[in-house]
């Protein structure tokens, strides 16, 4: 039973989150560093270049890296203060096993003993219940080498099909939509195309807070005369000065895209040549969107008809454009349909595959892109290969030197892994840098599932809320303690460089995984000398796949400030080439391994697909009992489940605790004033937070950021409805009722703001 070994307060007392601030050598900001290490930020998908100042094996600060072309030295507050997580008092420095009598519920043990215990538990569970009874969850912030190793470890060493990753909560709707429309899953354009566009369409993306450096590209487009259309239920900082703000009712984005396409057809704002020569499926779509008249679109989306017409006119008549979207349209039980709706208006305009004509989803996590391409996603093998495809399996099996039949088939998504635990089908779990107790919806269910596990081992560098349930905790590595590549928002493969050594008994994650394999006596293919050797095998495993990294080397990455994939090592005739990487996808005349010259898109005929994007309301719509929409998201100073950022003092000072954002009209109706305690209740849970009364949100919607745990967690309320294709959860809409709280909640007296 993986219940927490003790009550919450002793665990928090020992493991935090406590706050780290500038102190000691860090306060001496004039201290001369021993070295400056060029690397990248450890947080979001933009992966800004940064130089870490290192002194005496400690990261003591940063210096902007102005040569790096994506961010040119720019950083958001998280990047500036990231260095405060190294040498943090909460850092796990030893392996631990649960012991209810020990302070904080865990007792330190020797690393080798812990590894033996983990291997013993894996062996026992798999012997008793079969290989699939042991599941794996990993993270999209890991280097591509680590994610490759995790995928190989699951399939070759554990022989379990049950592996998935936390990118499932992030971008899979975009990935699935991209594959259905383009046959490839990557932002189509480099960000340098943004300032060259006449019109920018930003859908469901709080760019300023979730990917701040992207703002500079958007503002430059505005300076160059671009019209900016922002679709969001909140007036985020990017919406404040846009040209057209469309305050969509959460969950109704497909209706808007269909309505726009309807107007594009009516006014003949279409690129007929492009549709004819480079796409299939337009006629069926055109017939479908006939029902989406401006009037009906306005009724469903809550956007004024006049503004829908204005958006269609600007979008339809532009010569160049860039459409970008993020979790706002993806975190839905019909997230893939939303994405397809967005792609449809891009394809109908014919504005893709050219300079200044772009389309992209905005990657949320550090390696959201590379992390899913190379094997930790439940249905993919390295190179974005399909695990169910016999040819794909054969290629990877040869690289792995195993029988193709020995590779397990497709597994289930991260949420379904918990449902399998609930049903008793999965008995043991290993997690690496994933905190589902905070980040998955309906987290009371997640906690119940964790408590059902026979055995749970967590690898992490802080004891996150999920790892508190572990039987064994293995101390992993911070980003600056290892090296390898990640693939950032534009599809640029970049290099993370090691700045310091792991402290104490902490180990690089790839060592820990291989040590478990060794203790299991299953060392086949799990004896890499380091990340470079893993990357070399990954290159071979991805060769010829859609996500072809075979022409990328670490040296090439460092020399060129990154290399955009696909980057094959051979030309179409099989001759070795030094490929420069693919800056922009779908350029006319380009070759790919699927179309083989038939066209720029990744289907056998080389043509993109229009897909009918059918509208359906959110799974849980409002009603008399729960009349208000809850939507969730981020704030700029916190990241994901807050494991790292809720420990960094200056970031916590900036936004210390979650607040419930609501419009003055709603607040007035409920009798709640700014700063007063308010309680939101859904069918799954209750959450009491301070109200923030602002006019910058729809009056029928409240917003809560999701970075906090326990009784402050927004995911106590959210619904576990998932998209049927991508399995992404519907974080952006559920029904709640809100009332004024009688007074401060009980937690307010015992917990610090960030806990």
């Amino acid at each position: 039973m993986a219940t927490e070994p003790t009550t919450e307060l002793p665990i928090i007392d020992r493991f935090g989150p406590h706050l780290s601030r500038m102190a000691g050598v860090r306060l001496d900001t004039g201290a001369e560093p021993d070295k400056l290490v060029k690397t990248h930020c450890c947080f979001c998908g933009q992966q800004c270049g940064i130089q870490l100042k290192v002194k005496d094996n400690e990261v003591i600060g940063f210096e902007p890296w102005e040569d790096f072309p994506f961010n040119k030295g720019m950083l958001c507050p998280k990047g500036v203060k990231r260095y405060l997580q190294g040498s943090h008092p909460d850092r796990l420095l030893s392996a631990m096993v649960r012991d209810g009598k020990a302070a904080g519920g865990f007792r330190n043990v020797g690393y080798d003993q812990a590894i033996k215990q983990v291997a013993g538990a894996i062996e026992r569970i798999q012997r008793e219940y079969g290989p699939d009874a042991f599941g794996m969850l990993s993270g999209a912030s890991l280097t591509t080498e680590k994610t490759y190793l995790m995928g190989k470890f699951a399939r070759v060493c554990l022989k379990t099909s049950n592996i998935d990753y936390n990118g499932r909560l992030c971008m899979v709707s975009a990935a699935a939509g991209n594959k259905k429309a383009f046959g490839i899953d990557r932002a189509a354009n480099p960000w340098s195309d943004i300032p060259k566009a006449e019109v920018l369409w930003i859908a469901g993306s709080n760019v300023a807070e979730c990917s701040p450096i992207t703002t500079s590209y958007v503002w430059q487009a505005r300076e160059n005369g671009a019209k900016i259309i922002v679709v969001d239920p909140r007036i985020t900082p990017i919406a404040r000065t846009c040209d057209l703000f469309l305050p969509v009712k959460p969950g109704r984005d497909i209706a808007l895209f269909n309505g726009i396409l309807n107007l594009m057809i009516e006014h003949d704002w279409l690129d007929h040549d492009f549709i004819e020569n480079h796409t299939v499926g337009f006629d069926a779509l055109a017939e479908h969107v006939q029902q989406w008249t401006p009037k009906r679109t306005a009724e469903v989306t809550g956007i004024a008809e006049k503004n829908i017409r204005q958006a269609a006119e600007w979008w339809g008549q532009a010569k160049t454009s860039f459409l970008m979207h993020a979790r706002g349209i993806e975190h839905h039980s019909h997230g893939v349909q939303n994405v397809l709706g967005a792609i449809n208006i891009v394809l109908a305009s014919g504005r893709i595959g050219r300079e200044g004509c772009g389309y992209a989803t905005i990657t949320g996590q550090a390696n959201g892109q590379g992390g899913r391409e190379h094997g930790q996603k439940c249905d993919q093998l390295p190179g974005a290969r399909d695990i169910a495809n016999p040819e794909h399996r054969a290629h990877v099996a040869k690289v792995w030197d195993v029988d193709p039949d020995s590779i397990p088939g497709p597994g289930v998504d991260a949420y379904e892994i918990f449902r399998k635990i609930d049903r008793g089908e999965i008995k043991g779990l290993i997690s690496l840098c994933f905190n589902p107790k905070v980040s998955l919806p309906d987290n009371a269910f997640v906690q119940r599932c964790l408590e059902k596990l026979d055995f749970y081992v967590a690898i992490d560098f802080f004891l996150n809320e999920t790892a508190r349930h572990a039987d064994v905790v293995l101390p992993g590595s911070l980003q600056e303690e290892d090296e390898g590549v990640v693939t950032q928002i534009e599809g640029r493969v970049i290099k993370i460089n090691k700045a310091v050594e792991c402290p104490g008994d902490a180990k690089q994650d790839w060592r820990i995984i291989q040590d478990i394999a060794k203790a299991l006596g299953r060392t086949h293919g799990m004896t890499f000398s380091g990340p470079r050797a893993i990357f070399e095998e990954l290159r071979a495993a991805s060769k010829g796949g859609v996500a072809d990294y075979s022409g990328i080397t670490w040296e090439k990455v460092e020399q060129n400030y990154g290399v955009f994939w696909p980057c094959p090592s051979e030309d179409p005739e099989g001759k070795p080439i030094d490929h420069p990487g693919t800056l922009r996808l779908f350029e006319p005349g380009t070759w790919n391994p699927i179309a083989k010259g038939a066209g720029p898109f990744y289907f056998p005929d080389g043509k993109a697909r229009f897909n009918v994007a059918a509208y359906s309301p959110p799974t849980e719509d409002v009603d008399d009992e729960y009349p208000i929409i809850l939507t969730t998201g981020r704030v700029v100073s916190q990241f994901l489940s807050g494991t790292q950022t809720r420990r960094i003092g200056p970031l916590v000072d900036q936004y210390p605790e979650p607040r419930m954002e609501m419009h003055p009209r709603l607040a007035s109706k409920l009798g709640i004033a700014d700063g007063e305690w308010a309680t939101a209740e859904s069918r799954r849970g209750t959450c009491t937070l301070k109200a923030q009364v602002v006019q910058t949100i729809r009056p029928d919607t409240i917003f809560i950021p999701y970075h906090w745990a326990g009784r402050k967690s927004a995911n106590q309320l959210t619904i576990s409805a998932q998209d049927p294709i991508s399995k992404i959860p519907e974080y952006k809409v559920c029904a709640v009722r809100v009332k004024k709280a009688d007074g401060p909640p009980a937690y307010d007296a015992e917990l610090e703001a960030q806990q």
Partner: protein
């Protein structure tokens, strides 16, 4: 080594996204040991997400220095106004009260006025100030006037400010809409009349501080649900 003359500082609130990267980075500077000397203000959070980064404007004739009874605030030969000198500062707050831009802050635990010195430790050796280097939206920019003019064709730098009868010229420029040929409806004035702007009821929607959002005026929210009534004051105006 002086701060290069051809490098200027530009502040553009139109670009500010309120992320506080500038504040967090400023605290990293060598001279003030973990304390930020820049601050970020929400103009009125209840109605807008508009924020403004506030740095020292480095006035040609700094009022803070003029009112200092202890002669603690010095301006360098290259035009940078420094924090108060510790041996001289008497923590009287005259500078805090007098600065028309609201910049100096009294650090009560040090009994010392500290403020932005344009990262003198960096700018005087050829580096850019920390806040302007990291600012992810370009709201703070340090470079040449030619660079700004090329990058910002719809904006114009102004470094003359009118406060009632007082005219102040500064080393730091505010970016304003370019006027004719640039953003429609903007001014082509050669100075920013701060006092008038604070009292311009018509331009500011009935409240001197209220920020009008540059989005379509009639993009009012519509509701299917009767959970809340339709607003008449949704923050969606031009």
């Amino acid at each position: 080594m002086p701060v290069p003359e051809h490098f200027d500082f530009f502040v553009d609130p139109n670009r500010c996204i309120g992320c506080q990267a500038c504040v967090q980075a400023c605290a990293e500077c060598d001279t003030h040991k973990g304390r930020p000397m820049i601050h970020l203000e929400y103009v009125e959070r209840s109605t807008s997400t508009q924020t403004v980064p506030v740095i020292c404007m480095h006035c040609d004739s700094p009022t803070c220095a003029e009112v200092c009874p202890a002669d603690a605030i010095k301006k360098t030969g290259d035009g940078v106004v420094q924090s108060a000198r510790k041996p001289r500062c008497i923590a009287c707050n005259n500078c805090v009260i007098a600065c028309p831009f609201g910049v100096p802050k009294m650090q009560s635990d040090f009994e010392l006025m500290m403020k932005c010195d344009m990262c003198y430790d960096r700018t005087s050796v050829g580096k850019r100030p920390m806040c302007a280097t990291v600012c992810p939206s370009g709201a703070l920019f340090y470079g040449t006037r030619e660079q700004v003019e090329q990058l910002r064709p719809r904006s114009r730098p102004i470094n003359t400010f009118q406060f009632g009868h007082q005219t102040i010229t500064t080393k730091v420029n505010m970016m304003v809409p370019a006027g004719p040929g640039g953003t429609p409806g903007s001014s082509s004035a050669e100075y920013v009349d701060v006092t008038s702007a604070m009292h311009d009821e018509s331009a500011a929607g009935g409240s001197g501080k209220r920020v009008r959002l540059n989005v379509l005026e009639d993009s009012l929210f519509q509701f299917e649900s009767d959970a809340v009534e339709e607003p008449d004051d949704a923050a969606t105006t031009t």
